[in-house]
Symmetry: C2
Subunit: 253 residues, 2 copies
């Protein structure tokens, strides 16, 4: 089923999500066209495969075009912590531009389609077009805002609040790239993958899902999430969408 739903996503519009994100980053005209054309011949990655691995030399920047992925940090004893959930339009490993090797693994959670861009190509593009360089800074900034909000979630929110917050965030991020309905979206994560993202155990995620379900806030069945009470879910989460910066980059001028 995991595979089935993912395959459906893959046949969606070619790069719509990526175009949306580039526009939000302030690009238009020639810059937008150039960035949009990067990485012709998209690569397909099967679910459960890793796109880059912790310790790998960083040579290629990947843009997620379809499917879900996660950045994961693994411990020697098998514990794992996801540090980001990647949706269509997200850059999987922007730091490949700046560092020698990655300190995380990018794991495909569903079958994915990605655009692969060499760091030289993207780097010289950024060096020649200030708008592109600024757009890359914007992407890094938004990633940072999400990561730090996650810090607040893991550090100071209860499991209930945290799960509600995560669902609110994903609803808005999916909506921003045209992949959400008004009251829900296809959530391909297993409860174990949600647990890795929230710093909890799968067992406790299960109980927490049931808690939100029991209060009539959400319906989550066969990976289809329906938000039954959007204001209520936001209230439980203490969710304020500002950190997502959905209104796009602020012009420098």
């Amino acid at each position: 089923m995991r595979t089935t739903t993912a395959l459906r996503l893959i046949d969606a519009q070619p790069k719509k999500a990526w175009t949306v994100r580039l526009t939000a980053a302030g690009l238009d005209g020639a810059d937008l066209a150039t960035m949009d054309m990067l990485g012709e011949q998209p690569r397909h990655v099967a679910a459960r495969q890793s796109l880059v691995r912790e310790g790998d030399p960083a040579e290629t920047v990947y843009v997620l075009l379809d499917g879900w992925a996660a950045r994961v940090k693994s411990f020697a004893d098998g514990r794992r912590q996801s540090t980001a959930l990647l949706l269509p339009g997200d850059v999987c490993n922007l730091d490949a531009l700046y560092v020698g090797c990655h300190d995380y693994t990018v794991l495909a959670l569903t079958a994915c389609r990605v655009a692969a861009v060499s760091r030289q190509q993207l780097g010289s593009l950024a060096a020649s077009s200030p708008n592109v360089a600024v757009a890359l800074g914007w992407f890094a900034c938004v990633e940072n805002a999400i990561a730090t909000e996650w810090l607040a979630c893991i550090g100071r929110r209860s499991a209930r609040q945290h799960l509600a917050h995560l669902l609110c965030e994903l609803q808005l991020r999916m909506d921003a790239v045209g992949l959400a309905e008004a009251d829900g979206f296809l959530l391909p994560l297993t409860q174990e993958e949600m647990a890795d993202a929230m710093g909890l155990t799968a067992v406790h995620v299960n109980r927490t899902v049931q808690s939100l379900r029991g209060e009539g806030l959400i319906k989550l069945d066969a990976h289809h999430l329906r938000i039954l009470d959007w204001p209520g879910l936001q209230r439980v989460a203490g969710f304020h969408p500002g950190y997502l910066h959905l209104d796009g980059i602020r012009p420098l001028a």
Copy 2:
């Protein structure tokens, strides 16, 4: 005492830490000189004062020249989570370049000296010099790496491991800007501030400090940290310094 130790820091070399960081970001020659000159007439900020506040319009980028600060997210019920500890040489709010208003507060933990740079000034500098734009991307990337390692700390490490990890990180970051001795440094944080950074309570931080002390790993007294067993502390923490990217930016060429 808090004030006393901070004042001592303030009279150190003018901008050494900032210069070190700019060099690590790959700047030299005219670019380095220009960035180093930014924000003449440094501003002084008293301990406990906030440099920028959650919700403030973002007009100025601040570079920390001396003292310690933290980015903090506050909840309605008084809980707080620090999302970053800022040391001399760190940029306090790089996202002021890209977004309209901040989603965090920057709080001076000691008396601080900062360079204030208008976003127009820094923005036009970045637009005119690709090297500067890349350097800003580098800063964002390192911040991201630290924030995501913190996610792993809060999410999957025990309090003991987490505290040990934080101390290892701070030792190396302080050392990178010439502010650490071989076996320790001046740690001006209260246990409550450490708790905010680690997503714990002050009471439990206290017990955790004593645990590390009891095993002969550290000595922490009157804000002076001495690391008695560096390999041991790293082992307890599961600390691998790669994520700090202390070797500096990787050349794009």
